[in-house]
Point group: C3
Chain length 341, copies 3
């Protein structure tokens, strides 16, 4: 079981897609790449697009994938030990120029400078302390969504704690309870419709103390969905072609952890291979079921297993098609599962 995603370079991807050989798909490529970015930025409409122009925009998007951008969320959050306690530090910071797509930036409200924030990953039974420093100009608070914590650690201002005012720090401490393993998240619970969609969100993973209590897998991937002002329809804080591919080898079984941090449903459709849904909101389903399009509502998490039996480049996107493609090509909630020989 390896933990982090395996990268693939844009050059390698282009080779896999057959895009490296000029004219492989009958359309000249290079001059369009820059032009496409300009056009998407300037909001050109399809009214003036010929079929060839539209194709070129589409090809430029795929060809740019996976596009490099500054900033990457979901990185493992380091901790220090204080006796038996794992001590984490989160800082709420405004990032004025979060690059959600190539050359496109937006103001983001972040934990530790990225969207999503860093991944907090602990094991059942761990004692956890999180210092939260608020550098925003609004109060905030952190809710550990999916975790069973003492009421005064639950993160709801005025209901369970005072708000963390600008400049202040607040410390949470709780135990990741046995039985509470799975895919969870942390996010703001103050002015949350704004603060969460602006980026104050992250993955919180509780690994089982006994790995045998949950299905095994060879590789895992996090898919954090958002539809707010930060990059619009985004996966892990990025919009296609700046999203990251999922890369696996034929024969591997992968685990995908889904999180919906947005305000809309997102039915995620994986091409090529079915998804076996094994857990909802961290809880193992007593009876897993198969699907190819998994509908994920705000606040929900799911865990699915995919047996990577089919080699190739498999589109993987929200099936609300307007969240994934326009006349200038694919954008938003789109990535690719690459299954290599």
């Amino acid at each position: 079981m390896t933990k982090q995603q395996t990268g693939v370079s844009r050059r390698k991807f282009a080779g896999l897609a057959g895009l490296a050989s000029a004219g492989a798909f009958g359309t000249a490529l290079t001059p369009w790449a820059a032009r496409e970015m300009d056009a998407r930025a300037s909001g050109l409409t399809s009214q003036s697009l010929s079929a060839d122009e539209m194709d070129a925009f589409h090809e430029a998007g795929v060809s740019a994938f996976p596009a490099e951008t500054r900033g990457k969320g979901n990185q493992p959050l380091e901790y220090e030990m204080d006796g038996d306690v794992k001590v984490f530090r989160l800082t709420c910071d405004i990032v004025p120029d979060w690059e959600f797509d190539v050359g496109k930036t937006v103001e983001a409200w972040t934990y530790n400078g990225t969207v999503p924030g860093p991944e907090i990953r602990v094991t059942e039974g761990d004692r956890v302390r999180v210092h939260v420093k608020n550098n925003l100009n609004e109060s905030t608070a952190v809710h550990w969504h999916g975790l069973i914590v003492p009421n005064d650690q639950d993160g709801v201002p005025f209901l369970t704690q005072p708000p963390i005012k600008p400049g202040e720090e607040f410390t949470y401490e709780f135990t990741a309870l046995e039985g509470n393993a799975g895919t969870h998240m942390y996010h703001s619970h103050n002015n949350s419709a704004k603060q969460v969609t602006m980026g104050l969100l992250g993955a919180f993973t509780i690994l089982p103390k006994d790995p045998a209590t949950r299905p095994s897998y060879d590789r895992e991937f996090l898919i954090v969905l958002n539809d707010g002002p930060i990059g619009g329809y985004s996966i892990n804080g990025k919009s296609f072609p700046a999203t990251e591919p999922l890369v696996a080898k034929k024969g591997e079984r992968i685990l995908i952890r889904y999180y919906n941090e947005g305000l809309m449903i997102h039915p995620m459709h994986l091409h090529g291979m079915p998804q076996l849904v094994i857990a909802q909101d961290g809880w193992l389903l007593p009876q897993p079921y198969m699907c190819d399009t998994l509908n994920i509502a705000p606040g929900q998490r799911f865990e699915v297993l995919v047996d990577c039996t089919e080699v190739g480049l498999w589109a993987f996107h929200c099936h609300i098609l307007s969240h994934a493609e326009g006349d200038h090509g694919m954008f938003g909630m789109v990535t690719v599962l690459i299954v290599e020989e």
Copy 2:
């Protein structure tokens, strides 16, 4: 098994939340309560709010909870016996000033003067007669959503019956069939996109003839969701802080009955303790499953069990965050599960 919700006073709630002790959360409270109501009514935007002002609005909302308002839905509908028949009476009336939040009123179309209408509660095998009097200025009809009734009692104008014209009365009669126990609803099926969202909706519960055929519980709560003109995003016809808390004692198992009478999905997130989903649309699930955020689509009902193991004040809200919180604090589809020692 007790049937009705247990009330908690605003004073008691404030004590539980620590709000009674002035400055407990570092913000002066009282002067803000009135101002907050004014501000929300006048539609102030966040542009001009300082962090302290925003906190004060948030605190005022929590502090006002559970706010008293005129009118309360879901009350048990009395019936008379006519031989073996339970005879109920519903009157469709316009209420010009339904108070969905403190000091905020709106015109509602109601059954017997409340939103939701009164709860009709019978037992499998019961013969049921319902007289419906229409005092609206539009025709109407009542559909028994989830009940298996003879076709001519199904409530669809021109398909199964004539419309009930203004001033007229119509009588429905059917048997609550064995096997049809569970959480159902009744609502208008004429010009329904308007009439239902305006308030012509209510809970219809069929208890099992043999209680052993369904899981037992200590206490139960009804959560009727709506997102129409009556109070916007509402629970049982009220918007936070005018919603009612769910109050239980530690160790109790509670049953929550959900009903979506609106036009949008509402993924209901309970903090602190998981929900065990045991029935969908009244039908027991052959395999219950756990979650913390249950997505409920229009027309659906769910029954969930919650084991109240954790003492405290647990936020309970729609996780489409814009249905639950703004820069003036929490509103709409928010309530609190209070678990007392």
Copy 3:
């Protein structure tokens, strides 16, 4: 097991609904039918409608059902054999006047001239070849949604194939794999938010090689949902009253195949009898469950069984009520299940 839907004439339906006898429901009918169509076309609002006028509009809609319109989707696509290969032909054509409701037409982008396109129906193990000719003024490509096909047959331009340019033809070939039986679909995967909602969509059914591997039924129906520019909220490309009823005999077990090709969820509510959900995205559920309102998200398919135990005319509609009824009566995603003695 019979495959196609059984028609019912408008005259027969009116008789069943009691609409044939003038004044059966207290409202004069005939003059209103034409007027209703005019009014809906001219976008009259309810402001000026009396209760009687509103009733008349409602009655006119039901009375017109099932209204005859030009064009019918979901027809079985003929094929030729080339050795062991079933060879199908799809042509992408613009139909300038797709009649989605009586007298209401809109430009549609179609496979073989209808919305939905013809149904492709094969059996597990079949070798399938599909020639796709593009007569649009945009490039296109076909994705076999739900099918496990070789990567280069998956239909994503630039990722797995070149786009099919205007005037060009492309040939897909793959095997309907054993284990991949069930309810699938095919649709455009190029500029898809536009091309699919404009009508480039169709049902793809894989029958089991061994019928004993799936539940049996007496009759089956296809319910393809869309919410795009083609007819707005539509079932099988038509808006009520131009939708087609489902007709069954008492005692029959029917299979309903749902497909959501739109951009919104549609919780489909059947009156009178529960739905037993047996398959999701083609995959048999290990544990079928009952409901009366099935929430279907974009990209999802479901198979449900209904035991037609109750005689009568059962409304069957999306329970987002604004997709089904307005002050001028029912429209959009509404049809009727007719259970005959």
